[in-house]
Amino acid sequence: MATVSLEKLVKRYGAVEVVHGIDLEVADREFIALVGPSGCGKSTTLRMIAGLEPVSDGNIKIGGRVVNDLPPRARNLAMVFQSYALYPHMTVRENMGFSLKIAGQKPEDIAPQVEEAAKTLDLTHLLDRRPSQLSGGQRQRVAMGRAIVRQPDVFLFDEPLSNLDAKLRTQMRVEIKKLHAKVQSTVIYVTHDQVEAMTLADRIVIMRDGYIEQVGTPEDVFQRPKSKFVAGFIGSPPMNLKDAEIADGQVVFANGDRLPLPARFRDRVTAGQKVTFGLRPDDLYPAGHGIHSGEDADVHKQDLRVILTEPLGNETLVFSDFAGAEWVGRMLNPRRLSPGEALPFCFDLSQAHLFDRESGRTLRG
């Protein structure tokens, strides 16, 4: 059990800097997810924590101790790899017990620990198989079993579910959550899948181009994105983000279409300011088919033309035409809509976001 801190952590490959001095405090037993598009430096950061990549600058502390120059074996971590990285020539039992064997434990001490982990992960009947005889999901469970058996201070997961099919991924996500509840270790989990990050993590770290964009709870990053990037990255389908300008106390889009300025931004913008207006699909819905956002709802109604619909059963995603662009809305209790149909839509402006167009930072306080 341990805390992990990154202090001004930098990674350079030759002249190219890929991680630019990031700071992060991970509390003991916290589940932290590092998310971001590919190439954002999340895996590199994880590998530096693991000791598989040397640190170019800054410090990594585990449990308060600087570990920059310690080899991976001295850091007491366990890592689960995207490709599972099982030892092909060992049985499941040997794979799981390997780290204990290396640590010099006796076979009779190793066996019960492996059995225990196998029971947790429902692997007991597979203990004598080799990795090549297992399915993807089973291999992934073995990889996790290998990590659990070590009883490490920190678990590192490097996109562990990316190689699984959608259904299995959902299952394993639940397994990982249960597992964390059970083993109560610090976890650092790298993924590019924002759903995994949202569902699993206590806090999410959103990275982009080697910088940390925002650190916060899933609610935080969803409801109070600090930047346009975070707003667009978290949430599915992504937030509608459209460039606009402030004029006459209104949000004016490029083609002249207008929306009232959301109340909470009234004192925060000036006339003529270039902004990006953001509205989640959940807050743009055909009248009578939305989520009510309570008393402070600030609903603006407007007739929009439907371009196309994506029925999902319990809801329908409605793509409609406004301000010369395509906006996605979410229709609850859906009824069939036909393209070209015009109907009244509600813009819940109490949930709208405004970002500075230049810097991409949020304009809310």
Partner: protein, 298 residues
Amino acid sequence: MKGWRPPAPFLLLLPAILVLAAVVIIPLILSLYSSFTPFRLTQPASLFTLIGFRNYARILTDIEFWTAFGRTVLLLTVALNVEMLLGLGLAMLVEKATRGQRLLRTIMMFPMMFSPILVGFQFKFMFNDNIGLVNNALQSLGLTDQAIPWLIDGSLAFFAILVAEIWSSTSVFAILILAGLLAMPKEPIEAARVDGCTPWQTFRYVTWPFIMPFAYIAMTIRSLDVARAYDIVKIMTDGGPAKRTELLWTLVSRTAYADARMGLANAMAYVAILLSILFTVYFFRKLSAARTQIAAEW
């Protein structure tokens, strides 16, 4: 009914069968047959006298033959082990090279490109007791003031042959093991490092099992090679001094041509081939076991 016509597949394969028969099968049968005769090149008629297993019986009690046989096995064992270790080391060093790896791989193959005859001459010169590089170097370094009789003393000559053999063929191991190292997934190694392995343990428990099949392939190839070793020895010592470096095939060729006892030589050759077959079977068993172990898909 226009008489029997052979089936089409047989007809289509006939050219291949004829060529094989002419080049392989008939000479093989002829030499096997002659091993049951007292055939001497100087007395062609002796080819038609059958003496049963007398040649083989003679070999069984022939000290000279079994000494050569034993020496060949010794050469094989020592050469293969040393080549394996050196090749492994070379391959691991080259694998670490981030730049110029292709160049290094090419250079590594140079010794394989030399004809064994040439290798024999080079090493014969280097180990020459008067003008050779080896003695020259040893004396210049002050390690000895003697002219060490490398190719004249029996066991030193064996050592010299061993060195030549190893120099010329370590790259077989290096190339094949390097292929294994390059084909190996990197994640298990990283997993092992995180799991607490020292570099040595990582090699012992993760890398080595993976490259073992590649090493066995090299072993199989090289065991056949060394069991047929002839040219280097022929040039460097010609089995001498006093037959102290006589190997199976130098003995066979001496018996066949110098002594002109073709029948006996052929019998020896067939016994020698047994040795090759034994080694091949042994290494193939090892290879397939190692392959199953890493669940190789080839």
